[in-house]
Structures are given as C-alpha cells and as structure tokens.
C-alpha cells in the first residue's frame, strides 16, 4: 500500500506503482477513459509525446501540490503523483483539443483507405471515427512521396505516415547504428533509411506491426486481401530466433499473413522474427492454438466465427411479448 500511489482518472480511483504514466494508469482501469495513443508504444523505450492525441487535463497535480497543470499534458509521458486527479473524457477542453489534433493529423494523410492494406486495423481510422469531425477544412494540396522499398519484404509509403517515430525506435533497438530515421524537418520531414537501404536485421519486420497507419506494409501481403475477410488464428512454433507466438491470418486454408499477437491497445505481445513473419506461411509449420479474440468494435470481428449466439428469444418473456405486439402491427398493415 505504502509504495503505491493513488490517481483518479475521470472519477475512477486506481492504485498504481510510482513512476507509471497517466496513460498506463488509465489502461489499468480500462474502458472508455483510456486516452488514445498513436505514437506511444509501451514496448518501445522513449516513444510517445509526439502525436498529442493522448492529451489530458490534470485538474489536481498531487496531494502535496494541488495546483492544476497549466496546459493539457501528454498522458503517455507524464508520471502519476499521489493524489493526482486527471480529466480525460469528462473535460470538454480535452475533447476539443483532441478533435483538433485529429483534424491536424488528417490534413496530410491521404484518405486512400479503400486501397490501403491497413484499412480495418488502422489506428488513425479508429481515432478519426471516434474523435474526429466528418469533414476537413484543409483545402490545399497534400504532401506526397514516392513509395520506397526498405529491403525486399517491407514497403514504405511515406504519404500515409503520421510521423509517430515508432518504427525509428524499433530500428534503434534492433540495430547497432542508426539506419532508420527522420530526414528534413517540419511537414517536409520523412522517415527514411536514406537511399533505400534495407534494415538488415532478423526483426526488421516488426516495424510493420508497430506502424499505426498503412505507411509500412508487408510486401508479401500487399493487395492480397482485405483484413476483414481473413480469419485470425493464434499459433506458435518452435522458432530458434524468437518466441514464435504469432497470429496467422487465414483466407480459406491459405495463410495470407503472419503478424505478432496484438492486444486490445494494438500493441504486439511479443516481437517476432522475419522468418516467422515472411517465410513460414504453411499451416503444417505451426501448432494452432485457436481463434484470436477480436474486439467487437473492430471491423475484423464482422462475420467472425468466434461468434457468441445471443440468448434464444423463446426464453425471454419480454422479447416474446414485444414480438407479439410487433407481429400484430405488421400483419395489420
């Protein structure tokens, strides 16, 4: 008890370890009060603070210093203090600021979702659906880039990038020297390996998984299928390089794609190696564990066979009555 700190987020109190960020405290509570995060990735050290979608209002700094923080803060990078009170969805200021961030993120993002492989599992889609407005006030030409190949398996389409830097952190963690970074500055900055160099590492494929949008795509899966037509199945294999815990995406009996297992916040549980991801695409190599749970809110869960049937109407007296009334009405007409 003594070493835990109490933090109240939107009126819900939770006790967390000292040094936890506000975002992670909110994730421990779960539900609607979790701020969205486009750039923060709990498994990548130093990530976060850039996209500004996780802004929250700290209405009480701590028990010792109850002053509120003057500005909205990025919840992914601010640690909790004992007695801190945070407002997320209960603060109109936060909702307004988040709406602004979403609009600003979208002004240079091409709305090419119909031809984008990420559609259906794109965080920016979810974010703009939940927090954005229907139309943009931006009336100028959007920035565009040529597609670049990073190695023979990964394609970078910079036009779609929202510069969250997640892939940069992955590349920094898996390679000794800096191979993958940012060129230019301002809205002309671009993610690049500089002259289409390949990231030569067994784990380079993970930059596809961490990408919140469709900027980094798997060339072995590009344009093969829409993700909501494929069936995710958990599987593992005895891999010498990684843990081998993956999700296989089936269409019929064919494995179209292999990815890491993503949790409810869209973060992979374990990073997987390139052999598992790109080269092991036959069922016989894998030990199937069962269907992957997909959140009901996701489009991928449509027509999903992990379907729990609703309670049979016959057992529900209220529904039977309601049905009778409805039936009478319908037949009268």
């Amino acid at each position: 008890m003594s070493d835990k700190v109490k933090v109240t987020i939107d009126g819900i109190t939770v006790e967390v370890e000292p040094g936890t960020s506000i975002l992670n405290a909110a994730r421990q509570i779960g539900g609607d009060i979790v701020p969205p995060a486009m750039c923060y990735y709990s498994k990548l050290e130093g990530s976060g603070g850039k996209c500004r979608t996780c802004l929250v209002k700290v209405s009480k700094g701590s028990e010792k210093d109850p002053r509120p923080m003057p500005k909205l803060v990025a919840s992914c990078r601010i640690g909790v203090m004992d007695g801190m009170e945070v407002q997320n969805i209960t603060s109109p200021e936060v909702i307004e600021a988040r709406k602004g961030v979403v609009e600003i993120l979208l002004i240079n993002h091409p709305l090419d979702c119909p031809i984008c492989d990420q559609a259906g599992e794109c965080h920016l889609q979810d974010l703009s659906y939940a927090h954005g407005v229907g139309n943009s006030r931006y009336e100028f030409e959007r920035r565009t880039f040529d597609k670049i190949d990073i190695g023979d398996k990964i394609q970078l389409h910079m036009t779609r990038c929202i510069l969250c830097y997640r892939c940069v952190y992955v590349a920094n963690q898996i390679t000794d020297n800096r191979l993958h970074g940012i060129l230019g500055r301002g809205d002309a900055s671009e993610i690049s390996t500089y002259i289409e160099k390949a990231i030569d590492n067994d784990f380079s494929g993970n930059i596809i998984d961490v990408c919140p949008v469709g900027a980094l795509t798997d060339k072995t899966f590009r344009f093969k299928n829409r993700v909501w037509f494929t069936k995710p199945v958990d599987a593992h294999r005895d891999c010498p390089t990684c843990k081998g815990n993956v999700t296989l995406w089936y269409k019929g009996d064919e494995v179209l794609r292999v990815t890491g297992r993503k949790d409810q916040f869209g973060e992979v549980e374990d990073f997987i190696c390139n052999t598992c991801r790109f080269e092991t695409k036959n069922t016989s190599s894998w030990i199937i564990e069962g269907p992957r749970h997909i959140a009901q809110t996701s489009v991928i869960s449509a027509n999903h066979y992990e379907f729990v049937p609703l309670p049979v109407i016959k057992e529900n007296q209220v529904l039977i009555e309601a049905n009778k009334v409805e039936f009478e009405r319908a037949t009268k007409i």
């Binding site: 976060g48 603070g49 850039k50 996209c51 500004r52 802004l55 500005k71 909205l72 990025a74 990078r77 601010i78 640690g79 600021a97 602004g100 961030v101 609009e103 600003i104 993120l105 002004i107 240079n108 006030r137 931006y138 100028f140 929202i162 510069l163 830097y165 970074g181 940012i182 230019g184 500055r185 301002g186 809205d187 002309a188 900055s189």
Partner: protein, 456 residues
C-alpha cells in the same frame, strides 16, 4: 543619459582584445568571485539582483540556478545559448562581436557559481565570424590564466568550448539545444525531466542566454542590491533591445527597464522616431513570437497608463491587449506596412523552422502559412480569418515546446487587433495587391475604459 552596464565600454577601440578589456576593468568579477566568494554566495547575489532570463521567458536566473540538482559524483554543465535566431533580435550577436570577453567573463563566474567544470557556448552556425571571435578570445583568456586548470590559484578548473550549431531556430529551445550539443538531431525533449535534473549527457545542466550571462558581470562587480536598484519593480537591471523596422536610428540599445515605450521610439537618445516622417502603425515588442500590437495599444495600456519597456508593463492586459518583452526584438511598422503580409512572413518562418516532431505544430504551421498566403495574394475568404484563429488555438499549448505557441500568437494577435485589414484584403483582393491598407484607426486614442470593459 541612462546608465549602461553591458555596453559601457563598447566604444573603446580594441575592446575585443584581452589587454584593452582588462585595462578597462575587465575580469574584476572573476577575481572577486573566485578569491572572495563561495559559489553559493554568487548564486545568492544573482538572486538578490532579481535578474531575469533575457532570452525570452523572463524566468528569474537566481531561481533557475538554485534549482540545479547537485548529486555527488556527477558533472554539472553550464551552456550558453547563443543560438539567437528570433526574427528581429540581434543583440547577442552584437555583444559577441564587439565585446566577447564580457561573455567569457560571465561564463567563468556563472560556471564557478554552478560548479561546472566544463561549459559550452552554443553558437548558431550562421554566425561564423562570432565563433572565430569567441575562440580567439577564449585562447587569450586561457593564456592569461583565466581559463584552464587552477584559475588565479583558486583551485577551480574550467574548460570553455564553443560549439557551432547547424543554424536551426528550434535549437534555441533549451532541450533541443542540448540534443544538438550532444550531436543528435535538434528535436526538443519532452519535459519532465527538466535540464536542471537531466540535461547534457543526462547530467544537470543550466542553459542561459548570452545577455543573462553577461549581466552576471556587473552584478558581481557592484553587488546584487546595487543592480536591483536599476529598473522598475520586478524588472531589474538593463536590457539590450534590438530595434529594427521603420525607425530613424535602428540598432542595439541598452535601456534601463522601465523606460516608456513612447520615449524609446521617439526620443533622440534611442530610436529617434519613425523614419521618413511617417506615422507608427504597429509594433512587435519582443521578437517575432510575441503578439503584435497596434500603435495605440503599444504606447498606452487599456487603463490609460503609458506603457513601459518592462516585463510587467508590456504584458499588461494579457493576451487581450498586451504583449511580452520576449528577447527584446523591437520591430516598428510604419503606416505603409501591410500587417497581413507581415503575419504571413512570420508564419512562413515558423513553418520552415518547425522540427516536425509533434503533430499540431508540424501540420498546423504549414496550414496557417498556406491560408495566410492565400489571404495575402487575394484568394482569401471571410471564413479563412476565423479558421486561422481556430487553427492557432489548436496549436497553442498542445505542443512539446514553445515553438507552437510562438507560431500561434503572432497570427492570433494580428487577427485580434487588425481584423479590419484582413477583411479588407478579402473584400478588395485587387486593391490589396496594389496598395496597403494604411494607418486606418490603429493609432487613434484608445476608447475610455468603460467602453472597453463593456465590449469584453
């Protein structure tokens, strides 16, 4: 003639050389501090003086120094921020060009106060002559025994290095400066941790402006209390103002804080009035990132008081009717200047200099720039004006570093005070391409306070 502290000997021939500087009383403060004072006494003296940061934010320097974490066995660093790139500000460059030893003297005293064994002067890459001047001055000071091992036999060691930057505006932000100093891309860090806890190479660091460090010299020479007598209220001491724009005598002036703005613009001791006999239309009082004010509001506050050149008086009225002293880049606009064009120009600068790390600033500055360009070149719509205000609100306060605020304030304030001119640009696009809006009512006497209060 007001008293000068920093630029007292600026006209002495050869003051940039060590010998002449020493003959004119230079390096007295080093002798005084190292031989007779403890580091804490120096910090205390600076606290007493009430010196506030001259780089823009105006944070009390003594406080900043006392916040520096002092863990055992860790190096501490002092970094001088000479990455002066604010449009309208050129005081640091002037100081470094003409009297480099003043900065070095201040660096030695300040490093001694903070216990730094190594200090850096981070100079903007474009200022190559100043870098050479500083390096020569450091070599001179070193050979005279004021730098290096065991300075003046006090047992205190200090190495001073000049580090050229790449010439990015964002590297004037203290955490971006630290990143750049470490050899990385100059992206601002996310705070906390603040540099006082974890700065250069994760060691406690203080970053101060050139002028702040130079002001430590007279404080130690004459004592903090003596320094605090100069100035006005909580704005103590003197300040270098880089006056530019349509003035008769633009240049760098050392003023005692608390001089009325009207006196600063019109008296012959300072700027000598508006050039070519024109009338004043607007003033940007502290470098491009502070709100712009029309002539009537810069000369008087809404309460009818004359506005003074001090931290408090310039910010009187908040964002509604005030501005900030900032870094002292005083830009005056005469009646023939176009505020829309000027706002677009500032906006273009911030668009170009945004580092691209956080999204509101990266995308928002470009958006504002494009909308303003459209307004200036006669393709604007009435809705654009409200759009600009809205976008600036979305940027302001939601970014990692103050560049977002700096980009948003000039636009928001220009529209707040010069809305008529923006609307005229939209309504008369053809005319707006050929002539300027002129002075209009921007220099008229302010309405009585009751009327202003009822409007708000």
């Amino acid at each position: 003639m007001a008293r000068k502290l920093l630029l007292e000997n600026i006209n002495v021939p050869g003051i940039h050389t060590f010998d002449v500087y020493r003959q004119n009383g230079g390096y007295r403060s080093v002798e005084k501090a190292l031989k007779t004072m403890t580091p804490d006494a120096v910090v205390e003296e600076v606290k007493t003086s009430g010196l506030r940061g001259r780089g823009g934010a105006g944070f009390p320097t003594g406080m900043k120094w006392s916040f520096l974490a002092k863990p055992e066995g860790r190096e501490r660093y002092l970094v001088c921020n000479a990455d002066e790139s604010e449009p309208g500000t050129f005081k640091d460059r002037y100081l470094m060009t003409h009297i480099p030893h003043l900065l070095i003297e201040g660096m030695i005293v300040a490093s001694f106060a903070l216990g730094a064994k190594t200090s850096y002067i981070y100079v903007r890459g474009e200022m190559m002559p100043q870098i050479r001047i500083l390096e020569r001055a450091i070599a001179e000071a070193k050979s005279a025994g004021f730098l290096g091992k065991n300075i003046l036999g006090s047992g205190y060691d200090l190495e001073l290095y000049v580090q050229p930057g790449g010439g990015a505006y964002i590297c004037g932000e203290e955490t971006a400066l630290i990143e750049s100093l470490e050899g990385k891309r100059g992206n601002p860090r996310i705070k906390p941790p603040f540099p006082a806890i974890s700065g250069v190479w994760a060691c406690p660091t203080v970053v101060n402006n050139v002028e702040t460090i130079a002001a430590v010299v007279p404080i130690i020479n004459d004592g903090g209390e003596e320094y605090a007598k100069i100035g006005n209220g909580r704005s103590t001491g003197t300040k270098l103002i880089s006056a530019s724009g349509n003035l008769k005598k633009p240049g760098v002036y050392e003023i005692e804080l608390g001089v009325p703005v009207e006196e600063f613009i019109y008296s012959d001791e300072y700027c000598g009035g508006i050039a070519n006999g024109k009338r004043l239309k607007a003033v940007v009082a502290g470098g491009s990132s502070v709100p712009i004010l029309p002539a009537n509001l810069i000369l008087n506050t809404v309460n009818g008081q004359p506005r003074l050149m001090s931290y408090e008086s310039l910010s009187d009225g908040g964002f509604q009717s005030g501005t900030m002293l900032g870094s002292g880049g005083f830009i005056a606009f005469d009646e023939d200047q176009c505020i829309v064009r000027n706002t677009w120009n500032f906006s273009r600068f911030y668009h170009h200099e945004s580092c691209g790390q956080c999204s509101p600033c990266r995308e928002g500055t470009g958006w504002m720039e494009k909308v303003l360009h459209r307004l200036e070149y006669g393709h604007g719509k009435m809705s654009d004006i409200d759009l600009l205000v809205d976008v600036s609100k979305k940027i302001e306060g939601n970014t990692i570093c103050p560049l977002g605020d700096a980009a948003a304030w000039p636009v928001a304030s220009a529209i707040r005070h010069f809305r008529d001119e923006f609307e005229w640009h939209v309504a008369n696009p053809k005319e707006a391409m050929e002539r300027n809006y002129g002075l209009a009512k921007y220099a008229d006497p302010l309405p009585k306070l009751e009327e202003v209060a009822s409007q708000n």
